[in-house]
Amino acid sequence: MDHTPLSESWIKRINVLQLVLAGILIMSPTAWMVLSSFKPSFEVTAYPPTLIFSPTVENYSQLMETTPFFSYAINSMIVTLGSAGLGLLFGIPAAFAVSWTRISWPAVLTLAARMAPGTLFLLPWYMMFREVGMIGSYAALILSHAVITLPIVIWVLLPSFDNIPRSIFEAAQVDGCSVTRILWKIAMPLVGSGIAVAAILSFVFSWNYFLFALVLSNGDSKTLIAAAFNFVGEGSTQWGALMAAATLIALPPLVLAAIVQRWLVSGLTLGAVKG
């Protein structure tokens, strides 16, 4: 029996070790990226990498001077907000309908669409959008990104809707509510945190999605992430500026992810504490 405390302390140590390893694995590229973006350009590719350096924003000013960074950022914002909005507009009623009718195949279908490789859609879309002259338009990008956002919205909200006691909807029916009104007046206010989580996840995934924007946009409508790809190899690669761009691109999703993690937990436990 007296060896138990020893083994418990070992378990603790192993846990800490695991966390540290996972932390290194996840954080080191990010740290590398952020640190590099503040290094003088000649030190970015230095080997062995320098750990002590005098930080500079030289890479950032170079990025702003040599690329239309802000207009790409606006493109990204338009596409991301548009597709997240579109996803919410159709995903909220869709999730509610699936939860209400307990007919689940439409939700499964959207999930399958999400799991399929993006290249599956890419070619037909390219042909279709080219046919109607939509290549390079925001609409084409927003529509294509809705394939990312719609399943997220549906699958985040489905359990939230399912968690609302059925009798609350029935009470609303007896009170004289139509199904549309029940969604608007009863169900949506009750899954507020779920909607927030769905919106933020949609934003993050759409913001980060690379493939569709690469093919379906043109020079004017490129999103940040697709544009950043072009920074590589335009003449000589400016690694420092690229690191600065990557840092800036990663910033909104990281901030939103930090916000969402709190809500994600509360969103998941909401159903357990019934009013």
Binding site: S167, I168, Q173, V174
Partner: protein, 359 residues
């Protein structure tokens, strides 16, 4: 206010029949209680009246209007749910005002109705609270308030007391009863608790397997149960049942042939049923006779349960466990020998095969 007519109603879920063929008339302003064991179809029936379950076949009329296929929202009924089903994100006031707002009622009238109902239910102090800030009993009142403000044609209650503790349940039970006298609206109340059924109903519907076993006033259901199921379901402790038969001209327990004190009328009913029947006696319908009387049933007390107002004694008769309700002043003791005599006008005889009462 409206009467409810159910005509040849059938309800199936796939191949599973919940209600095989049910007809029922509920009069205007009547308080009817559906009672029965779980799975008897009482809640399904209530939900059908509410419009929350579709009808497989048959007819349902509220008022004079056929409402088959009419959505719940358009039936002008109000329902109190077992879990109260209050809107968690709305204040008590808004919970009660919601249905009226949906109907586009002017704000001052909504306000007047909500406050009147709140006063009636003594919940004025909680109008600004959210449901989660209320106790179970308070939520129950809000759920009733939400129904009352509507001034609907019919009130439906789906086991609304089952989540309350025993003391509160008795209190709310009486309140609902007095409310029903005040409001004079048709009310249908579902419960599995026969005491709620007895105390509140104008008429009781006893259901088993989706079939109406008896539909009558509480007094009649208690005093003249239509069959052995009703007899056993209504009344607490439950009625004692003993298989009996005629041996020659005398009645005897089938188990051991010991004589049963039945009068000539009862023996005639027994003879009508080919000499075999089930004898039913409620625990409160035994007379204790002193000493050994020829016709009385001799018993040995196995267990004593003092309830204060009465005392229950447990014993075996003819191989069957039985209970009698006696005067506490008797101070019965375990192991004591007694002689019990069933009150002749209070005995029940049921057909041994069908359970139907022998008249």
């Amino acid at each position: 206010m409206a009467a409810i007519s159910i005509r040849n109603l059938v309800k199936r879920y796939g191949n599973f029949t919940v209600v095989p063929d049910l007809s029922l008339e509920i009069a205007d302003q009547e308080f009817v209680v559906f009672v029965g064991p779980s799975g008897c179809g009482k809640s399904t029936l209530l939900r059908i009246i509410a419009g929350l379950e579709p009808i497989t076949s048959g007819e349902l009329l509220i008022g004079d209007k056929r409402v088959n296929g009419v959505p719940a929202a358009q039936r002008d009924i109000a329902m109190v749910f077992q879990d109260y089903a209050l809107y968690p994100h709305m204040r008590v006031y808004d919970n009660m005002a919601f249905a009226l707002e949906l109907r586009g009622m002017p704000k001052p009238e909504i306000d007047a109705r909500v406050r009147q109902a709140a006063a009636m239910l003594h919940i004025e102090a909680y109008l600004d609270r959210k449901p989660k800030e209320l106790s179970g009993g308070q939520r129950q009142r809000v759920a009733m308030g939400r129904a009352i403000v509507r001034n609907p044609q019919v009130f439906l209650f789906d086991e609304p007391l089952s989540n309350l503790d025993a003391k509160l349940r008795a209190q709310v039970r009486a309140e609902i009863k007095s409310l029903s006298l005040q409001l004079r609206t048709t009310m249908v109340f579902v419960t599995h608790d026969q005491i709620e059924a007895m105390t509140m109903a104008d008429r009781i519907v006893v259901l088993q397997n989706g079939i109406v076993q008896q539909y009558d006033t509480p007094e009649v259901v208690y005093e003249r149960p239509a069959n052995q199921f009703v007899a056993g379901f209504i009344g607490s402790p439950t009625m004692n049942f003993f298989p009996v038969e005629l041996r020659g001209d005398a009645a005897a327990f089938e188990h051991d042939g010991a004589p049963v004190p039945l009068d000539a009328a009862a023996r005639a009913r027994l003879r009508g049923a080919a000499g075999k029947a089930v004898l039913g006696i409620r625990p409160e319908h035994f007379d204790v006779v002193s000493g050994v009387e020829g016709s009385a049933i001799p018993v040995v007390i196995k267990l004593v349960e003092p309830l204060g107002s009465d005392t229950l004694i447990h014993f075996d008769v003819a191989g069957t466990a039985a209970i009698a309700r006696v005067d506490p002043a008797m101070k019965p003791k375990v192991g004591e020998r007694l002689s019990l005599l069933p009150q002749p006008d209070k005995i029940h005889l049921f057909d041994a095969a069908t359970g139907e009462v022998l008249r």
